[in-house]
């Protein structure tokens, strides 16, 4: 495996729940709770999990769009959490983000050209002509035409907008791209286009991706390694093939079995989970999953399992494997 690009250790984000006029804190949402993982250069790390498990929060913390409560984020040996504002701006040139909503993530009052040019202006890259040229090039790269530059976002379809979003992320030639559910708002046929584009760009520019999604199929398709999150914690992390073919954590197993397979002839024993996702403001003690786990043991109710390597490159946080 290549060298690490990003190393996240014991990352936490507790959102305060305030109430009343004096903003007294009455509780916490443990959106991300003690998360550690490493991203290697050139790979795609997929992160899956159900809604509200803290995927987006994690993604945003990596860019410090949300201030982490605790923990460290090392990007090329720089401690992101301690950077000053101006240092942070430099780092943001290297790390970019693609957003879920192709409608909300583009300023409706800017032309495509302005949207794409802005990262360059902000980082003081190139002269005006150079910037214009770069914009044209990038439009072609993401499969749009140069004459699209003068248009406004509302004139594009969802898939095209997502391409613009991708182009924007690529303008500063970043090393790492964090894609937060980049295809979940798109139609299936468009989704495939965008996924292919992302793959091609990765090859072309040697990008590293952190790919956040809840569609397990999509994640499997694009990721080299996959992490599964549950209630703000990583419960399993492994090579993609390994994880899908040989899931270890009971949650991962249930999750995989819940996915409907587009093949009427394929019969699979469904493993239905009971109940709903517990609230992150009041997570269960011990293993957060114990309330829905059919292999729950006494210890699960009290002791938090650590994420441990149980096979080479296969990490699981479950007492069954300790």
């Amino acid at each position: 495996m290549s060298e690490p690009l990003l190393r996240v250790e014991r990352l936490k984000k507790y959102f305060p729940i305030t109430s009343g006029i004096f903003g007294k804190q009455v509780g916490q949402v443990k959106a991300v709770d003690d998360l550690s993982f490493t991203v290697y250069k050139g790979e795609t790390l997929g992160i899956v999990g159900e809604s509200g498990c803290g995927k987006s929060t994690t993604g945003r913390m990596l860019l410090r769009l949300i201030e982490p409560t605790e923990g460290s984020i090392l990007f090329e040996d720089q401690e992101i959490t301690r950077l000053s504002k101006s240092e942070l701006r430099k780092v943001r040139r290297e790390m970019q983000m693609i957003f879920q909503d192709p409608f909300a993530s583009l300023n409706p009052r800017h032309t495509v050209e302005k949207i794409l040019e802005e990262p360059l202006i902000v980082h003081g890259i190139g002269s005006k002509q150079e910037r214009k040229k770069k914009v044209q090039e990038m439009l072609e790269v993401v499969g749009l035409s140069s004459y699209h530059a003068k248009r406004y976002p509302h004139q594009f379809s969802g898939g095209q907008r997502q391409r613009i979003g991708i182009a924007r992320a690529l303008m500063t030639r970043p090393k790492l791209i964090i894609a937060d559910e980049p295809v979940s708002a798109l139609d299936v046929s468009i989704q495939a286009q965008v996924l292919n584009l992302l793959e091609d760009l990765q090859k072309e520019f040697g990008l590293t991706y952190i790919f956040i999604a809840h569609d397990l199929g999509v994640v499997r398709h694009i990721s080299d390694r996959v992490g599964v999150m549950y209630l703000g914690r990583m419960v399993e992390l492994a090579e993609s093939e390994n994880l899908y073919n040989n899931p270890k954590h009971p949650y991962t197993k249930a999750l995989l079995s819940a996915v409907p397979i587009p093949d009427p002839e394929y019969k699979q024993e469904k493993q239905l989970l009971v109940g709903d996702l517990p609230s992150p403001s009041n997570p269960p003690t011990g293993c957060a999953f114990h309330t829905r786990c059919d292999a729950c043991m006494e210890i699960c109710k009290t002791v938090k399992p650590e994420l441990k390597e149980v096979e080479e490159g296969h990490y699981v946080a479950c007492h069954l494997y300790s």
Partner: protein, 338 residues
């Protein structure tokens, strides 16, 4: 396969009349739902799935949405022009419907009990007490724990999955013969989706309620339905038995659709993708609506609109000139037989 059909849609055309002119959202579709079956309707966003279901229910947005042609036969009665009074009797009682957004589909200001009992009392002469018992019974049936308490709770106190169960309970409360489910699980997490799908299947088997399952997830179709209708831009492009369609899709769109979905069982080297965008309804005036994105398109495709051609006698039909040639169907128009 020789069940009677209870709901039949013939040449339904529904248009929206907006500032930008007439938008033909549904453009002459034919379909039928047979007793006790689960019929899947798939298609990408905007292809007219919801509009079809709303047309059946007579719930098109007043003033802008209008059925401009076709018939809808329910148990031998054409309900396209049925009086509002008649429709009221049918809705909820004979044809029930559940919607995509469990978060917003229940009135936030009334208790679950109130809304459940209302559904019962509209169609049944019952005392309040009886209605209450029936409501609780239904809630239990859809697998909600603490049914009695939930009766007193408000929608916001329930999770998405629970609300969708309430919606189902409410839809099933009068034992309808058809249940239209418009993307009932799209907004839910996979684990919850699995629960809900399971529940619907159970109900289908237990009560023999026919379900019209609208979705854009081919996985859901494969898992739930016996028959499937594929829609594209307001038209049906392919129709048939689920197994047939997945094993041997005929329409280039269906083929593309199935091939472009990543599978969790194995990693494909590269995803197949249909080029281009989903057209806005009404933007293609001439020829096959899929022609512009179709690899196999030839001259005729750009000029004429293909009919739905029968591929085999088991109801596999496809709207593509390729199969007009392959099959030597004689006539221009295929009559849908039930």
């Amino acid at each position: 396969m020789n069940k009677r059909s209870i709901l039949e849609v013939k040449k339904l055309k529904t248009s929206f009349f907006t500032d930008d002119g007439e938008i033909p959202a549904v453009d002459g579709i034919d379909l039928c739902v047979k007793e006790g079956e689960i019929l899947g309707i798939v298609g990408e966003s905007g292809c007219g799935k919801s509009v079809t279901s709303l047309s059946i229910m007579g719930l098109l947005p007043k003033g802008i949405g209008k059925i401009v042609g076709g018939e809808i036969w329910f148990k031998g009665e054409n309900i396209v022009n049925a009086s509002e009074k008649r429709m009221k009797e049918i809705r909820g009682n004979e044809i029930a419907m559940i919607f995509q957004e469990p978060m917003t589909s229940l009135n936030p200001l009334f208790t679950i009990g109130n809304q459940m009992m209302e559904a019962i009392l509209i169609h049944n002469k019952m005392s309040k007490k009886e209605a209450r018992d029936r409501a609780i019974e239904m809630l239990k049936l859809v697998g909600l724990p603490r049914a009695e308490e939930i009766m007193k709770e408000y929608p916001h106190q329930l999770s998405g999955g629970m609300r969708q169960r309430v919606m189902i309970a409410m839809a099933m409360v009068c034992n309808p013969s058809v249940l239209i489910a418009d993307e009932p699980t799209t907004a839910l997490d996979v684990t919850i989706q699995a629960q809900i799908l399971h529940l619907m299947k159970e109900l289908n088997q237990k009560f023999g309620t026919a379900i019209m399952m609208i979705t854009h997830d081919l996985g859901v179709v494969a898992e739930m339905c016996q028959r499937v209708v594929v829609m594209y831009s307001g038209k049906i492009v392919e129709e048939g038995d689920v197994k047939t369609i997945f094993r041997d899709p005929k329409h280039p769109y269906t083929i593309g659709l199935i091939r472009s979905v990543p599978d969790i069982r194995e990693k494909k080297a590269r995803l197949y993708s249909i080029p281009g965008n989903v057209p806005k309804p009404g933007s293609i005036k001439q020829g096959c609506r899929f022609a512009a994105r179709c690899e196999h398109a030839f001259d005729q495709c750009l000029k004429e609109n293909p009919d739905l051609y029968e591929v085999n006698e088991f109801g596999h039909r496809v709207r593509c000139f390729l199969h007009q040639k392959g099959e030597n169907t004689t006539n221009e128009r295929t009559v849908i037989t039930s």
